[in-house]
Symmetry: C2
Subunit: 248 residues, 2 copies
């Protein structure tokens, strides 16, 4: 059954308390540090963390605050922007596949292959038939990573309200340390809100062999806690062990 | 005049105090966080940080503790290992150049193009004539980065004593969380100590258009402080400013 994003809250559950949750985050980040070391030492698995969301939904902040304390040697972040002519000359997964994580490491995608069924679709650069074909290819691609290289894919949609987005976009005009992020197109894109929601809902329904996590993202502390917890749980479930001495 | 590494101390100066230096490091890392944000926002400069040193000289730890608190979106770490057949089929700087930092970002090299005049030379896989030709090419390459893309290169040699190295290599046998790092070749390489020192001394003399920093590295706290301070000073000297609103 298709999700209706307008019926899903963009805020933390009422029983979550900010200060307490922030303290929990600190201890999760410590666990993550240890788990990342194991991941690297064991060298059997890898993690691909996909971060999607509307402009100003807090993708950059999430990446900084969840992955910023890990060992940078085992984490890599790739931001996918407008494709280059060389990238456009290939299938839409070509530029993505290049950045699949190496065993033992965590790869974070700031935007991803999902843009090829989101912005492209909302602007009608591709028709629906193409979009649905691409969503099938995405399923296959994500399965390939898991089945053939033990790459565990985690997909997060940062769910902000229209009102929160507007407030944050306006801050990019008023705050001198944020002005460099300002892009007048963001306001134009914001007007296409409903089309974006529809396109996201289709992604959640069609590309669900690896499940999505919808992250209430109006409050940064809850967003960060949710992502960090999910990453920790995934790593813990791998039951990793230090491999001992390598045989030459 | 050529440096004599055996005459340079591998320990912190006597007047440096551990606890106090560690506190200073914390405040430098906070400064770095702000400076990195500016570097990214302004988007004019980039930093290439080269970390070289003998096995167990503490390269991994330095990278984790100096760059681990920065925003991972603006830092990338590349470890250079044995070249692949495709890499060997090109000039020795081909695989390096690919990882030159994008404007606004920091790229850390764990080992680097210097291996092509170090391990290769110590094992006589190349002759001295080739080695000296390569060192000239390295000078030109590092100048290219600075002059044509505002890439500031910082080169650190982690200077440990033979005794400290031996102790750390032995830990890789006894400590279960470190065994995965153990490589029996490390002990063979350690026997070539004097040849390595000579090869490093030649690098410092020949590849000095971008100067080297020799980092006393027997004590991790002093090593980290020295590297972090140098990175901070370099970034501060750039006199960066938030660029304000972009014109479309």
């Amino acid at each position: 059954m298709q999700q209706d994003l307008s019926k899903i809250s963009t805020r933390a559950p009422k029983d979550m308390e900010k200060t307490e949750t922030k303290e929990k985050l600190v201890s999760i980040l410590e666990e993550l540090d240890e788990l990342q070391n194991l991941l690297f030492a064991e060298g059997k698995h890898s993690l691909l963390v996909v971060i999607q969301g509307m402009d100003a939904s807090g993708k950059d902040g999430a990446i900084k605050n969840v992955f910023g304390t890990l060992n940078p040697q085992g984490v890599s972040v790739t931001s996918f922007k407008t494709p280059t002519p060389e990238e456009i000359g290939h299938d839409f997964l070509w530029r993505i596949h290049k950045h699949a994580p190496l065993k033992g490491t965590i790869q974070v995608f700031n935007r991803s292959h999902y843009e090829d069924v989101l912005i492209t679709r909302v602007h009608k650069w591709i028709d629906d038939e193409t979009a649905f074909k691409r969503m099938k290819a995405i399923n296959n691609f994500e399965k390939l990573l898991l089945q053939h290289n033990q790459t565990h894919v985690l997909k997060f949609y940062l769910h902000v309200s229209k009102e929160e987005q507007e407030e944050r976009l306006n801050e990019r005009i008023s705050d001198v340390t944020k002005q460099w992020k300002y892009n007048e197109n963001d306001f134009k894109e914001a007007k296409l809100w409903d089309d974006y929601m529809k396109a996201y809902e289709d992604c959640f329904e069609q590309c669900n062999e690896v499940p999505w996590t919808i992250v209430p993202a109006d409050q940064n502390w809850f967003k960060e806690y949710t992502i960090a917890s999910a990453v920790r749980d995934t790593l813990k479930d791998l039951n990793m062990k230090y491999p001992g001495m390598k045989k030459e």
